[in-house]
Symmetry: C2
Subunit: 454 residues, 2 copies
């Protein structure tokens, strides 16, 4: 062996950024994301016009072909032509760092129509998935460890990884499982008081609605309370609404809509909301498209966010186009409309049905309770494990739920209230698969409980 | 007006992250990136097989069509089928956070063949453009302001923006304009000594080769000196080689190749090199594809980088596919081969010719000197401005070169040695345009010098 190979490396785990080492969830997140690869069922978009439009945009010469009308629906051709008119560089050139102007206009129209309240395209920034937008806002907010960000527990690992990486302080609030994973304002107030006492200023609050991993949809009253709380405490609200097309029990209500319904007293309220093409019934996660709306933000701050966006040049253009297609689905009369409606409706109904099926099955397991999935793509059942199983887990230096999940060949990396045990489960598998998954899970669970029963 | 609208905003420029405000270049960067949108000439890839393959991948049903063989080159069809076999989820599903396995394999083959030295696919991570990779490596290296990163001046704003944002210290070294923008090892040593004296540990060094904005290509002897320096000083080498396909005078030599040619004594050397689909003769910047090779890095550190990559889920899949197409250009015998060769060669020769044309013209202007562009897509001419122009700029609180560039309706945001004035200019416009650009620039320059002559 030569000299340097035997020497210590320059960059080692013990001298690298310790935040990555200690605060970013490891193995389980990597396993989880590898599992997520399988979540999107490619068959789902078989007849949506998305892929036809993207195909034409990648190879615009097809538009000139005599076969175009035979191979592509009329509205896909028209859509591709109109996008090429607006984005003459096509999918291969850089765009403005905020995203293509025309896509931002369409997003603003979509939001205005969704909420019944105006959205200004100057408030819309396109992003590579929702995550890139979340990181930019946190970068603006966090100066040092005296800046705190309220995040829900359970939550999605993006927040718990990014906040410490930027040097800020996580202020964790618990969702109230007994009240459908809603937010408890008294608890929020007490967390703010405790933070202030330690010299930490709560600067923003993250709400994930519909929830991940909990699957809840907040009701309007609770959302109003959250806005009042943020207003009173002067906390910027970050609304992660990437599951907005996955609200199964009642129509989705955005924080922007609730805010605007609260009248003039809240007109200057600062809210950033995030959306993505990765969820919904389209699930175009591989294209990394998303947007954020900067409601009520200071113009000078928006310019700084623009500057920040310019460092990474621009969101990928194909992802921007998928955002455009998402916010402008086929209209009645379009060639693709009927099939699009039929298919998205079927996907939606099937997700809803699978959510119910899985929740019912889980609630029948010994020691398991599970709130119904009102939204998103997940259930977050609570398991009461036998003490012997908990002791065995302790002996193996594993958390009891991790012990359970490894045994189930699945794993969870989501936080929860101390002393409670949950695992996140998705209802994305197709119906016939869900039934066999449920059967296998029930059989495993019965064996596990028998093995560890006191 | 209602109450809160009159109140101060929660998030204001004075209470946001001041690093963004002060260290990220503003207006000029945004203007520069808006100009960059126009840099890519969409005509350039008119008959490359890239767009055909991407088109088929977006809409795989086309592969089943009876017209496929008439509409698409045979090798594009074969390529699309092989990619779909390897990536069954297509462009719409998440991949592994390091990127699709098959693309990483192909990148490793490309590097091995390019350098004549083996590359292990486990060292290859795909990224959204090169920038995303650069940020991840800097995140790992920087713990606090005591960690320094050596960066070239002039440089590309990504580095000067990201290092302070992560809380690290920039250690700026000057490229030697008189010696073709090469690196001066004595200066590097003295910067290291000064940093150590201030308690700052130099942890890594960025080299951009071919250079941006300078356009130089380092010779092998200088590259060996850089490697020896990094080895001696225990500094990780970050080689930004995104312009590797734009080396006009001699064949591109990678740092990896020079390193491996230096034998066993350097076998454990830590080098991260970056490449992108945005430059070269393909210029697919809108797809945000790229990769990094982690040479000699500790396995445990690579796992942490993997974990870090998992936070943002995965690089966009279309961008990954463009990387695949870039590293596996059509081979002799493929349908697309001859046209691909002809076109890429023509683009390359034309870029080279335009570089020469522009450098010659610039060197003829009064007070302007310009090194020849050996690589990349830029020239970085030096202008000696009349004292009256410098005084007038001072009066307007503008840097003299900014004053000059605003007058030229163009702007530069790149650093330079104090007291010298340069502007970055690209030779991307087509030949006929270059001639008129040169004529207009010469006319402007003559007027400007006359106006401000002492």
């Amino acid at each position: 062996m030569e000299a340097q190979a035997l020497m210590q490396k320059i960059l080692r785990v013990e001298n690298m950024n310790q935040v990555i080492l200690n605060k970013v969830q490891g193995e389980l997140v990597i396993r989880a994301e590898e599992l997520e690869q399988t979540l999107r069922d490619p068959a789902r978009r078989d007849s949506l016009p998305f892929k036809e439009v993207l195909s034409l945009l990648e190879y615009p010469a097809l538009l000139e072909s005599a076969d175009a009308e035979r191979l592509f629906p009329k509205d896909a051709i028209a859509r591709a032509k109109s996008i090429l008119h607006d984005i003459p560089g096509g999918l291969g050139a850089y765009s403005n760092s905020r995203g293509e102007r025309t896509v931002r206009e369409h997003v603003a129209e979509f939001i205005s129509e969704r909420d019944g309240f105006a959205c200004d395209m100057e408030d819309v920034f396109l992003t590579d998935g929702a995550s890139a937008g979340v990181v930019k806002i946190l970068q603006c907010l966090i100066r040092d460890e005296k800046d705190g960000i309220l995040i829900p527990i359970p939550q999605y690992p993006l927040y718990s990884a990014t906040i410490p990486m930027l040097g800020g302080t996580q202020l964790k609030y618990y969702l109230d499982e007994e009240k459908g994973w809603s937010l408890n304002i008294a608890e929020l107030e007490s967390i703010v008081e405790q933070a202030l006492a330690k010299g930490v200023t709560p600067r923003a609050m993250v709400v994930i609605n519909p929830g991940n991993p909990t699957g809840q949809c907040l009701d309007t009253a609770n959302m109003q309370q959250v806005i009042e709380f943020c207003h009173r405490r002067r906390v910027l609200l970050m609304a992660d609404e990437v599951y907005q097309a996955n609200s199964y029990i009642r129509p989705f209500t955005s924080f922007k809509k609730v805010l605007r319904s609260m009248g003039e007293a809240y007109a200057g309220f600062e809210l950033v909301s995030f959306h993505s093409v990765s969820k919904g019934v389209i699930g175009e996660c591989g294209h990394r498209g998303g947007y954020m709306e900067l409601v009520g933000l200071d113009i000078a701050v928006k310019q700084q966010i623009y500057k920040l966006a310019s460092i990474s040049l621009c969101p990928n253009i194909a992802g921007q186009v998928v955002v455009d297609l998402m916010v402008r689905p086929p209209k009645p009369g379009d060639d693709s409309h009927d099939q699009f409606q039929r298919e998205t409706q079927a996907t939606f109904e099937s997700l809803k049905k699978r959510a119910g099926l899985l929740a019912t099955a889980l609630n029948q397991l010994e020691g398991v309770t599970c709130n119904p999935a009102e939204g998103a793509m997940y259930l977050f059942p609570r398991i009461r494990l036998p003490q012997r199983a908990i002791d065995e887990a302790k002996r193996l230096c594993r958390a009891p739920d991790v012990f359970y999940c490894f045994a189930l060949l699945d794993a969870t990396g989501f936080g929860q209230r101390d002393g409670t045990f949950h695992f996140r489960t998705t209802f994305l598998p197709q119906e016939e698969q869900i039934r066999s998954v449920v059967a296998a899970m029930a059989a495993f669970h019965a064996r596990f409980m028998d093995q560890w029963r006191e």
